[in-house]
């Protein structure tokens, strides 16, 4: 009498189908994990912003004449026109949307490097606390870049200029 038990083959094909499904789901998840994440360019962007502000304040060994008088005094009206003097535009152009940038420039005289004698700031101040957060994954926080350099001012003074530039844009980059 022939023993023919083919039930095993049908059970095997169910397992094979299950493995195919696992592999397919795995590949789809891998692809979505990798390609679903956008490029985060905020660090480069914040650095470009800092460099632009630095060039606006001090270029070619000379400070901006709109910022400092020939006697070396800071002009207060530079604060009100900071964006236009440095050809910056933080306006998102949409209603009820706040700027995605914040920039702050502090000028510390060489006689007192702990106390800023002049401050320029523009943008959305709400991004600033993100710089203090100490977390492992900073991707959902704003990107902060801090740069400093020394500047010769008219009248012989030397200033330490500290530039803090912040780029929010969390949704577009994460």
């Amino acid at each position: 009498m022939k023993l023919q038990n083919k039930r095993g083959d049908k059970i095997l094909s169910v397992y094979w189908f299950a493995i195919l499904v696992i592999v397919a789901v795995g590949v789809v998840l891998m692809v979505n994990t990798f390609y679903g994440k956008g490029y985060d360019v905020r660090e480069v962007e914040a650095r470009i912003l800092a460099e632009k502000v630095a060039d606006c304040v001090y270029f070619g060994g000379e400070s901006n004449s709109l910022l400092l008088t020939p006697q070396g005094t800071f002009r207060e009206d530079f604060k009100d026109n900071f964006l236009s003097f440095c050809t910056l535009n933080f306006d998102p152009g949409k209603e009820f949307v706040r700027p995605e940038y914040y920039v702050e420039v502090n000028f510390f005289p060489d006689t007192n490097l702990r106390r800023s004698s002049f401050v320029l700031s523009e943008g959305n101040l709400n991004w600033k606390p993100d710089c203090e957060e100490k977390v492992a994954d900073r991707s959902k926080l704003a990107t902060c870049v801090e740069k400093e350099f020394f500047m010769n001012a008219p009248g012989g003074a030397v200033y330490l200029v500290k530039i803090l530039s912040i780029v929010g844009k969390v949704q577009e980059n994460v």
């Binding site: 592999v23 795995g26 891998m30 990798f34 660090e43 480069v44 060039d55 060994g61 350099f149 012989g156």
Partner: protein, 115 residues
């Protein structure tokens, strides 16, 4: 007479398949984790790769250091130069700079003296 049905072979196969499924699951999870690690490299850093053809140290990506060095060479007061030099050494020892500090300083002094 009855038929003896030996199903031990079927049980052996099923066990093999269960183990294979578990191994495949573990591998797939491992690759998904790897994909998420690769996705984290999509954060573009501001440290550009230097050109392979450039050999000069002066050309680099630290305009802030260059501004500071230019301030240094144009300072009329020697005492302020010493203070600034000390500050550069402090920054060099703490954080370092993106480009070679000594070469850049030499180059800026050279260019300033040539003008």
């Amino acid at each position: 007479m009855y038929n003896k049905i030996n199903s031990r072979g079927q049980v052996g196969e099923t066990l093999t398949w269960i183990i294979a499924t578990v191994i495949i699951l573990v591998l797939v999870l491992f690759f998904i984790f790897g994909a998420s690690l690769l996705a984290s490299t999509k954060s573009i850093s501001s440290e550009f790769r230097p050109s392979l053809s450039l050999t000069g140290h002066f050309i680099g990506t630290d305009p802030f250091l260059k501004k500071s060095l230019f301030t240094y060479v144009t300072l009329p007061s020697e005492s302020k130069k010493i203070i600034l030099d000390r500050e550069f050494q402090r920054l060099l020892s703490q954080e370092g700079f993106a480009i070679d500090f000594n070469e850049t300083k030499k180059e800026i002094i050279l260019r300033y003296n040539r003008r």
